[in-house]
C-alpha cells in the first residue's frame, strides 16, 4: 500500500471485482452481473457506489448478511406486475433480474412493475433504468435503505436516502438518466469524503439540536448511532421546500415496502435488537414503460432530445459556462475514466489487497 492515489485500468478492476464475487461463492454469471453494475458506478465517477463498496459486499457475504447464491423467487404475479423475494441474495443480481422481468411485462402489456422484498444493497439505482432505456423503454427504480433522513421538523434518522432513478432513450448518443437520493446528499458521499479527509457542506446534515454537522467521520458515526440525520432535498423546515424532499423519501419507502409486505425504516439497519448482524431486508420497486405502446420510438426520442437541447441552450446565469441535463456529466465522465482508469485512494488500496490476499487472487499485481 502507498500513501498516494493510484489508478487501475477499468478492465482489470472489473475483472478483479468479478473474481472477488466468485471467490465468495457467487456463481460466475451472477458475479459478472454484479461487477458490471459496480464498475458502471466508477465509470460514472460515482466513487461511493463502485469499487469503494466492494469491501462492504465482501464483509457482508462473509458474515452471512448477504447470501452469495441468489434465489430469485416470484411469489405473486399479475399480467403487468410481480412480487419477488430475493432471499437475501446479491442485490445487483436481484435488481438485474427484477428489472428484466418488468421490461418483459412492458413489452407485452405496455408497462410492467416488480416489487422486491428481502434484497440487499444493489449498487447505483441508475443502472436499472439504463437497462430499460437500452430496451427502448422508460425505466424507473426505487429502493429503501438504512435510516438516515430526518422528517421535516425532526432530527432522528428515519428514512433511507431512498433514491429515485429514471432513464429513457433519446435521439442523442446517451439516454436521459436521473439518479438521485431524496436527501440533499447521501451516506456514500460522506464515505468518499472521509476517505479523502474532507468535510461536507453546511445544510446537509442535522445534529440532535437542529444544528448543521459537516465533519464526515462525525456524520457517519452519528448516522449509525442515531445522533445525526441527513436533511431531505429542500433542507431543514418548510421555507425552501424541505417537506417536499421528505415527502418524496416517504413515497419511495411506501413503494419499496408496502407492496411486498416487507420491512421498513428501522427494520432495515441490519442489526438485531441485541446488537448482532442480520439481513438488511431491503425492498425495491422497478418499473418499465414501453414507449412503443404509446408512440413511435423515434418520435419519443426526438421530443425528449428536443426538450434536453432547449434546456441546455437556455439563458445562463452570469458567469455560468454551461447548463447540463441529467446524465450528461456521468456519460462524459465515463469516456474519461475508460481512458484514464479508476482512481484508488490509499484506504481503498488496503481493502483491495486484503480481499486479494484472503481469496488468494495472486494473479493481481496492482502496483501498490
Amino acid at each position: 500500500m502507498t500513501e498516494t492515489v493510484k489508478v487501475l485500468p477499468v478492465n482489470v478492476l472489473q475483472q478483479f471485482m468479478q473474481d472477488v464475487f466468485v471467490g465468495l461463492g457467487v456463481p460466475a454469471d451472477e458475479a459478472a452481473i454484479s461487477a458490471q453494475i459496480l464498475i458502471q458506478s466508477d465509470l460514472f465517477g460515482i466513487e461511493s457506489h463502485g469499487v469503494g463498496r466492494l469491501k462492504m459486499y465482501y464483509d457482508r457475504i462473509k458474515n452471512g448478511q448477504h447470501r452469495p447464491v441468489t434465489q430469485f423467487e416470484i411469489v405473486k404475479e399479475a399480467p403487468a406486475t410481480a412480487v419477488v423475494d430475493g432471499h437475501h441474495g446479491v442485490g445487483m443480481v436481484i435488481g438485474y433480474k427484477a428489472m428484466n422481468l418488468a421490461i418483459e411485462k412492458a413489452r407485452v402489456y405496455g408497462m410492467g412493475s416488480v416489487a422486491v422484498r428481502n434484497s440487499t444493497h444493489f449498487g447505483i439505482d441508475g443502472y436499472y433504468p439504463l437497462m430499460a432505456a437500452r430496451a427502448g423503454m422508460i425505466g424507473m427504480s426505487f429502493t429503501n435503505a438504512r435510516p438516515s433522513i430526518a422528517p421535516t421538523f425532526g432530527v432522528q434518522p428515519m428514512l433511507g436516502t431512498n433514491p429515485i432513478a429514471f432513464g429513457c432513450p433519446t435521439d442523442e448518443a446517451n439516454p436521459f438518466l436521473y439518479d438521485a437520493a431524496t436527501s440533499i446528499t447521501q451516506r456514500g458521499k460522506f464515505e468518499t469524503l472521509e476517505r479523502k479527509g474532507q468535510p461536507g457542506k453546511a445544510g446537509w446534515v442535522t445534529d440532535q439540536q437542529g444544528n448543521f454537522l459537516t465533519d464526515a467521520s462525525e456524520v457517519l458515526k452519528g448516522l449509525t448511532q442515531d445522533t445525526a440525520a441527513l436533511l431531505p432535498l429542500g433542507g431543514a423546515g418548510e421555507d425552501l421546500g424541505g417537506h417536499k424532499g421528505y415527502g418524496l423519501a416517504t413515497i419511495v419507502e411506501i413503494l419499496s415496502a408496502s407492496l411486498q409486505g416487507g420491512a421498513f425504516l428501522h427494520a432495515l439497519t441490519g442489526i438485531t435488537p441485541d446488537g448482532g448482524k442480520t439481513h438488511f431486508q431491503l425492498g425495491h420497486f422497478f418499473m418499465a414503460i414501453n414507449v412503443e405502446s404509446f408512440t413511435d420510438l423515434d418520435s419519443f426520442k426526438k421530443t425528449t432530445g428536443d426538450i434536453l437541447r432547449a434546456l441546455r441552450a437556455s439563458r445562463k446565469a452570469p458567469d455560468q459556462p454551461r447548463i447540463y441535463t441529467a446524465g450528461e456529466k456521468e456519460f462524459e465522465k465515463e469516456i474519461e475514466v475508460r481512458q484514464t482508469g479508476v482512481a484508488i485512494v490509499p484506504k481503498l488500496q488496503q481493502d483491495l489487497l486484503t480481499m486479494r490476499d484472503e481469496l488468494g487472487l495472486t494473479q493481481y499485481q496492482f502496483g501498490f
Copy 2:
C-alpha cells in the same frame, strides 16, 4: 364588493362554480366534475387552485383557449396503457376520465397508465391520485405547464412547475397524499400572495442577474415576460441539490410530452408568435397501481400506516411541536373549511360578481 375578506359556505360555492361552467356551455355532468375538483382545492386550503382560478377558466373558455365540451378521444391503446387526445376541452374532465381509464386498466392488468395531449389546466394534481387511493390503488399524476422554472445554472423560465402527485390508501382515516411542484414554490402561490399584498421568500425566484426576487407582482410579471424564473426544489446551483429538483421537473416534462408526441416548454404558453391567444396544449401522465395485484389491501394499508405513524412519532427538533406526513395538513384543513366556509378576498369577490352578472346567475346573493 367589500374591502374585507368574506366567507361563503362550501356547498354554495361548489354549486356556483358548477353553474358557471354550465353557463359557459359545459355539459351538466362535466360541470359537476369540474366544480368537484376545484372545491377540493379550497377544502384543502390550497387557495391558488380552487375558486381563485375560476375566473381564469371562465376567461379561457370565453376566449376559445379551452373548449367547453370535452371530446375525450383514445388515439392509441395497449392492454395497460393508452394515449388520449383532450382536444382542448376542460382539463378537469380530461384528467378525471383519464385517471379512471388508468384505474380500469390496473384492475385487470395490475397497473395502467394514460398519457394525455391537448389538455388544459386541470386543477390540483393531487385530486387524481386521490381517485386511485379511493379505489384501493396507488395513483400518480404528472403534468407540464407554462414555462416558469429555470434549469440549474440558468435564469430563463423553461420548465413548468411540473408537479408530482402520489396517493395511496392507508389504515387511517385519510389516504397518504403528496402533491407538490418540482419548484420550491409555484405561480399560484404568488397569485395568492398578490391578492393578499404579501411578498414571497428569498430563494424562491431568480431574476436575470441571478439575484432573488420577492415582490409577488414583479414575480408574476417576470414569469410572463421571461425575465424572472422559479428556482427548482433544492434552490440555485448544486450545493443544496438544486440539480435534483431541476431533474425531477425534466422527468415530469418528458412523461407529460414525449409519450404523446405533444408540445413542451415554450410551446405551452398559450400565446402565438404574433402575441395572440391559442390553446395551451398541456400534457399529463396518469398512473394507477392495483395494490391487490401485489398484496392483500389490508396488509398494504397497515404497512403504510405503520410507516407514517413511525415518522410522526420520531424525535423532533427543539421547539418543534409536531411532525407531519403528506396530506395530513390538507385533510385537517378540510374539516375546518367544511365548518367555516371558504374565505373570499376582495379581488376574488369582484371576479365572482362579474361572472354572476355576466351569466345572469341572479339566484346568488353573496352578501358582498
